[in-house]
Amino acid sequence: MSAHSHVDGQLPHEPEKATLEGRNKVLGFWLFLGGETVLFGTLFSAFLALRHQVLGGPPAEELFNLGLVAAATLILLTSSLTSVFAVHALHTHQVKSLIMWLIITVVLGAGFLGLEIYEFVHYVHEGHGFTTSAFSSSFYTLVGFHGAHVAFGILWISLLIIQLAKKGLNTTTAPKVYIASMYWHFIDVVWVFIFTVVYLMGKVG
Amino acid sequence: MMKRWQFVKRLAPLMAMMVLVLAACGREDLSTLNPQGPVAEEQFGLMKLAISIMLVVIVIVFAISLYVIIRFRRRKGDNTIPKQVEGNHKLEIIWTVIPIIMLIILGVPTVQSVFNLAKDYSKDPDAVKVIVTSHQYWWEFEYPELGIKTAQELIIPTGKTIAIEAKSADVLHSFWIPSLAGKIDTNPGANVNKMYFSAPKEGVYLGKCAELCGPSHGLMDFKVKAVDESSFDRWTAAIQEPVALPSDPAVAEAFQSKCLTCHAVGDLGGPAFPNLTGIGSRESVGGILVNTDDPQYSNEGSVYDNLYRWIKDPNSIKPGNQMAGAYDLTEQELEGITDYLSKLTLDYEQ
């Protein structure tokens, strides 16, 4: 209950779970991710149902450039690892290291997003616009929903970095960092599925 | 006081149900409770089985309800605490197992019937194939093997299996002839559906659209007319014969320039909208204006009157249909065309 009575040195090992509010947040966020799973599950289903409806646009096996996507995948997976380091720093109460790892995570996330935007622009030039076909609509919606999640995560974690710098690590900021890291892992996992279902399966036909 | 009320309240719907089930099964040409063909009969059989099982459930629940409501009412000033019962394993097992048995009794014939009604007659040489295409708000019937396209009235030979391929030209509709067969949706795009039915007895059966499709969804009726096989053969021949234009050249001109741009008669005109060949001998105009010499209701009249009403202002008959405002006729042309169409009959029944 007494959120800001702790100072850095007195924090428990898992400061995100030190208060009821923190525990509520962590549990609530797990549940939220459960809902997000259904959300992406539905988007995947829609994509799978429509992915052969290319009409006049380029089909998946001609369109996708696996090299670029693999690079994006590598960047995003690395950012997942750096967010693990951030949570480790959180548990060992090293604010500076925590902030550093979060910054690296954000930078990697931005790199991923940059590649994705480049990729989308390239596709549109290839004649694969949002309104081209059911395949293109469902592709942009699925991958775009994920991209929007990455973008939101970047803004969110950036905001948390500023808060950490200003307020330090305490039982109010710790749960925020922890759930942001959960969120980041989740969008990485979703990306692994997108890479497999959209790109690899698209290449195979 | 309460006792009597509860009693009446609980028995009234049961009584009403019995009365309705026994006394009125509805119109022979419209009711699912009065099946006129084997498919509807099979479905009615399953309905009867389900209703019987469910009546048993209802009777049991109502009886126990009635008993506890009467027996365990709190008497005035009664402050005793009833025994607090946690549960009863024996009872709980009973009311788990008995429903499961009931469901098996219902489930087995259900599954059998599902597969039976999914039989595909589209390759059967004895079956009459019909492609049903639904439009806002009319039905197109194509006999691919006979090269016939007609609208609003599906003519079938008695006793033969009719193999339906159903699709939609615009939004979802659903093809339903309650007294002959349950419905099947007509989907747009590649989701073509198949079903079959047959009518052993001659007669006209009412068909309905059963999926919300726009303002005139409720008025999107059609007819299924079962005739004996020789009449059916005469019909297929008659409908393919050429049709002469109106004899009055002014009417013919108007008919050609204002009607045949969308509609077809014989080998003239366009295929996009209802084919008018033989419209004068159909049961109804627009699916809902019933042709009769003895009109009783506001939607009934002679063929001429109905056609006149329809052509004059289709939107007042079926709001939102695409014929409204598509043409402009003088009173003279209107009467001439109506007269011509009302005499556009096919002579095939004996």
Binding site: M1, S5, R23, L27, G28, G35, E36, V38, T42, S45, A46, Q53, F130, S133, A134, S137, L160 | K9, R10, P13, A16, L30, S31, A40, Q43, I51, M54, F62, V68, F72, P82, V85, G87, T96, P99, L103, L106, G107, T110, V111, S113, L117, V171, S174, P178, A181, K183, D185, P188, G189, A210, L212, P215, S216, H217, G218, Q296, Y297, P319, G320
Partner: protein, 632 residues
């Protein structure tokens, strides 16, 4: 709590309108949900009456065909999303924290946000009546009818965006109550000691969590189709109309259980209390609830038997659907045997509950009948289906809601509703209900499709439709009586005791009516199922406290949720009207500008919420003691 005295914050409390706009108190939010849901219930009811007036005679033209489709669409959408669910949210907000011995919900701020997004979504949907036409493609909004080709005006846009905004609120509420129930139970309140109502809310919340995201995606895809020319459901662009049906019903069927499970909970509480008996077969009730929730996700395609999914799918979904009858049957018999051997008092709350049982059984058996796919080919989209789901939703859910409202009214408002008017309400509503809907089974069987604007004369539908319309007016009369009851009760003194029924069994009856802001002066120690009843039987006057009296920490009120709702409302209107409003500057539509402005309000509020730490405030011992004294 040990540190509490070290940092007491200034008490931030508002009064009047500002209090209601900023409140994060679950009890006040419950009242807000009740007000808003009640209002939409009246709107939906009015729409129903207009539908029934149109159908009272053949070939009627009381309303136009277009208006009729708007009415049936808005009636369904309003009743499900804006009336039934919010009133359930009202009950769960008002009661669940009290039943588990909690001082608040897990996320008070989000709770308030959930309410305001629901309200602004609901208002958005209804604005359509005044801007050129409400949605008219049915509450199921099947494509392609709901697409721009066949629905060029903005009606369906309002449906898509209104439900999207309202849906956010529902999802938030679901998560909130899951966490509340898992994390905030009083000491000793194990899962298997939780009251049945709390259990059903728990399962309902889980269903919301896993069902609503599917709707979110469906609505987003339909929105993309409509606003940005995507091709999800448009066959000419390679889309698939059947995909919408799948997505809609994967959400839509669990939604049915989201609605009915809480009613099961209410009935369990009410019947048990007024029979003065422990709920019969509590653990099998819990099990049945979980099983119904689980099976609820396995049966969506029984709404699509006529879509043409093939015999294998139809057979599987038939059987899966029939299976739901088993846990439901367990519940029915458990209620009957709760009454068996009890000492039953028939006040209004219990009349509704006892009336519920046979009525719901009638809705249930027609459900099993509908599950038999070949027979469903006949029932589907006929008035038989209309009768079935009204038996389940009105005869089940609405009777349950009425029961719950009469039961918990004293706890929510400190005044008991009048019993005489209450009983009149029950009888008019109950008889009116059966009159309206029983006959509709037969209309369907005799060949009357649903959602039809009018019917021809001479088909044998006339008398039954007339009876149905008369019944609808009786239901309206019952509703008016209920409103009358509320109004007259509001002028009575606020004198309800803590346990007004004297047979209360659960924790909410151990605290004053209405509950103080902090609910429990001291968190109670729970020693068994039916915690309060157990103490009563052991000869105790109240609960044993689990903690000493001390200052209580409370969350601060906030206006941000209100503005987040406003932001979403503005954003939705902006994006919707972008094609109509022209350019703000070259190549940039004014509508998008408005839309982005709305989103900025939303994200700005989120930013403020993240940056400003809310430490809440404390209610001091003196104030708590004063409350206690005042009541004694």
């Amino acid at each position: 709590m040990a540190h509490a005295h070290a940092h007491t914050h200034a008490v931030k409390r508002h009064s009047g309108l500002m209090d209601w706009l900023t409140t994060v108190d679950h009890k006040k939010i419950g009242i807000l949900y009740l007000l808003a849901g009640g209002f939409f219930f009246l709107v939906g009811g009015l729409e129903a009456l207009l539908i029934r007036i149109q159908l009272w005679k053949p070939m009627n033209d009381f309303v136009s065909a277009d208006t009729f489709n708007e009415l049936l669409t808005m009636h369904g959408t309003t009743m499900i999303f804006l009336a039934a669910m919010p009133i359930l949210f009202a009950l769960m907000n008002a009661i669940v924290p009290l039943q588990i011995g909690a001082r608040d919900v897990a996320f008070p701020f989000l709770n308030s946000l959930g309410f305001w997004t629901f309200l602004f979504g609901g208002i958005l949907l209804n604005v359509s009546w005044f801007t050129g036409g409400a949605p008219d493609a049915g509450w199921t909004a099947y494509a392609p009818l709901a697409g721009t080709t066949y629905n060029g005006d903005h009606g369906v846009d309002y449906y898509v965006l209104g439900l999207q905004v309202a849906g956010i609120g529902t999802l938030i509420g679901g998560i909130n109550f899951l966490v509340t129930i898992i994390n905030m139970r009083a000491p000793g309140m194990t899962f298997m000691r939780m009251p049945m109502f709390t259990w059903t809310i728990f399962i309902t919340s889980a269903l919301i969590l896993f069902a609503f995201p599917a709707l979110t995606v469906g609505l987003a895809a339909l929105m993309f189709d409509r606003l940005f020319d995507a091709n999800f459901f448009d066959p000419s662009g390679g889309g698939n109309a059947v995909l919408w049906e799948h997505i809609f019903w994967i959400f839509g069927h669990p939604e049915v259980y989201i609605l009915i499970l809480p009613a099961f909970g209410v009935i369990s509480e009410v019947i048990s209390t007024f029979s003065r008996k422990r709920l019969f077969g509590y653990s099998s009730m819990v099990f049945a609830t979980i099983l119904i929730g689980f099976l609820g996700f396995m049966v969506w395609a029984h709404h699509m038997f006529t879509t043409g999914l093939g015999p294998v799918a139809n057979a599987l979904f038939s059987i899966a659907t029939m299976l739901i009858a088993v846990p439901t049957g367990i519940k029915i018999f458990n209620w009957l045997f709760t009454m068996w051997g009890g000492s039953i008092i028939f006040n209004t709350a219990n009349l509704f509950a006892v009336g519920f049982v046979p009525t719901f059984v009638m809705g249930g058996v027609t459900g099993v009948m509908l599950a038999a796919a070949p027979a469903d080919f006949q029932y589907h989209d006929s008035y038989f289906v209309v009768a079935h789901f009204h038996y389940v939703i009105v005869g089940g859910l609405i009777l349950g809601i009425f029961s719950g409202l009469h039961y918990w009214w004293p706890k929510m408002f400190g005044r008991a509703l009048n019993e005489t008017i209450g009983k009149l309400t029950f009888w008019t509503f109950f008889i009116g209900f059966h009159l309206t809907f029983f006959i509709q089974h037969f209309l369907g069987l005799l060949g009357m499709p649903r959602r039809i604007w009018t019917y021809l004369d001479g088909l044998g539908f006339n008398e039954m439709n007339l009876i149905s319309t008369i019944g609808a007016f009786l239901m309206a009369l019952g509703t008016i009586l209920f409103l009358l009851n509320i109004v007259t009760t509001a002028f009575k003194p606020k004198n309800a005791p803590a346990d007004p029924w004297e047979d209360g069994r659960t924790l909410e009856w151990t605290i004053p009516s209405p509950a103080p802001e902090y609910n429990f002066a001291q968190t109670p120690l729970v020693r068994g199922y039916d915690a309060y009843w157990k103490e009563k039987m052991d000869g105790h006057k109240g609960m044993t406290p689990a903690e000493p009296l001390g200052p209580i920490h409370m969350p601060s009120p906030s206006i941000l949720p209100f503005f987040m709702g406003v932001g979403l409302f503005i954003a939705a209107l902006g994006f919707m009207y972008a094609p109509d409003w022209g350019d703000m500057f070259d190549g940039f539509k004014a509508g998008y500008g408005v839309g982005i402005f709305g989103l900025l309000i939303l994200f700005g509020c989120m930013f403020l919420r993240s940056v400003i730490d809310d430490h809440g405030f404390h209610i001091e011992e003196e104030e708590i003691l004063k409350d206690k004294g005042g009541k004694a």
